[in-house]
């Protein structure tokens, strides 16, 4: 395998014969110049620039959510999203306290001796 600088791309390519490699390069000592920039048929586009790309199953909302949850409002993570979180928390805590009282009452009643037959 011999090597030559391609006349088309300006980059190093293979040549099958010694003469092919030598004749295209010439016999003068040249400093290899910068290869010309490759130009594609259609310039590549950044994905966000294409409005018509179909996002597979929804768009990415994570950066938006990251902003919400990183707000320095002092709220603990379980209440960070506001009203919905507070409602769910209150329901859960209500069931917890109510349930505990109901449980203690049920166990107290269950512990009462039954009259023997």
């Amino acid at each position: 395998m011999y090597y030559k600088v391609s006349g088309v791309t300006g980059k190093l390519t293979g040549a099958t014969s010694f003469f092919g490699a030598v004749m295209s390069a010439g016999l003068k000592a040249t400093v290899p110049s910068q290869a010309p920039a490759m130009i594609f048929a259609v310039p590549t586009k950044v994905v966000s620039e294409t409005g018509s790309v179909a996002h597979y199953m929804g768009i990415n909302k994570v950066p938006e959510l990251q902003k919400i949850f990183q707000k320095t409002d002092g709220a603990p993570v379980h209440l960070k999203r506001g009203v919905m979180d507070k409602m769910l928390y209150r329901t859960t805590m209500g069931l917890t306290i109510g349930g505990t009282l109901y449980c203690l009452m049920a166990l107290y009643i269950a512990a009462q001796p039954r009259k023997p037959q």
Partner: protein, 261 residues
């Protein structure tokens, strides 16, 4: 603005450990009340509280990790240790049931007819539905690995498809096993054979349902762009759990279905 000078996660105060503990109290007392007084109110209340606790606790972990960035490498290492230790504890849980099975089946008592399967028990043919179930779970192990590689390579569509397939295979296993339970010629009350069979396979089935649910949550998160190609521990934990469920089935199949028939 305060900043921490370390990479660890100092968690915000949370009410979920308390609500979870109360849920356990309500479920256990509720079970006793159901047995003695025929009322399921307390137990149902406990179950609802358990579901609310699980939803909000795990939702908060997702918020802390994905949205607040608290899951740094040392924190993730701790989560990995945690999941491994949990799965190990589950292995010991199943070991107990395998111990019970081998205790009864290696030296069958005269009451059973001195043989295993005991006299009067017609075991299920291991080369029918149980073999299909084995193939289904093994296939699901392949699809979950495919899903993992898809996530690591940033292939969103393939990750969603392979994860969906994994869950469908899990649901198929559950459906097949449910029909087997319905069609079985023996019940849990049929001596020690029935007890060991249904308790061991029953707990396994429960773990398949839990694993399928975990994978379904991962699917939702993958669709919502929570996982990156470098950081997707929630999925890895679900995949480890799924492989554990698969391995338990292989032991069940070889011991109870095949050797035990």
């Amino acid at each position: 603005m305060a900043h921490q000078a370390h990479a660890y996660h100092m968690v915000d105060p949370s009410p979920w450990p308390l609500t979870g503990a109360i849920a356990a109290l309500l479920m256990t007392s509720g079970l006793a009340i159901w047995f003695h007084f025929h009322s399921t109110v307390l137990m149902t209340l406990g179950l609802i509280l358990l579901l609310l606790t699980m939803y909000q606790w795990w939702r908060d972990i997702i918020r802390e990790g994905t949205f607040q960035g608290h899951h740094t490498p040392p924190v993730q290492k701790g989560l990995r240790y945690g999941m491994i230790l949990f799965i190990t504890s589950e292995v010991f849980f199943f070991l107990g049931f395998f111990w019970a099975f081998y205790h009864s089946s290696l030296a069958p008592t005269p009451e059973l007819g001195g043989c295993w399967p005991p006299t009067g028990i017609t075991p299920l043919d291991p080369f029918e539905v149980p073999l299909l179930n084995t193939a289904v779970l093994l296939a699901s192990g392949v699809t979950v690995t495919w899903a993992h590689h898809s996530i690591m390579e940033g292939e969103r569509k393939q990750a969603i498809q392979s994860l969906t397939l994994t869950i469908l295979l899990g649901l198929y296993f559950t459906a097949l096993q449910a029909t087997e339970y319905y069609e079985a010629p023996f019940t849990i009350a049929d001596g020690v054979y029935g007890s060991t069979f249904f308790v061991a396979t029953g707990f396994h089935g429960l773990h398949v349902i839990i694993g399928s649910t975990f994978l379904a949550v991962c699917l939702l998160r993958q669709v919502q762009y929570h996982f990156t190609s470098e950081h997707h521990f929630g999925f890895e934990a679900a995949a480890w759990y799924w492989h554990f469920v698969d391995v338990v089935w292989l032991f069940l199949y070889v011991s109870i279905y095949w050797w035990g028939s």
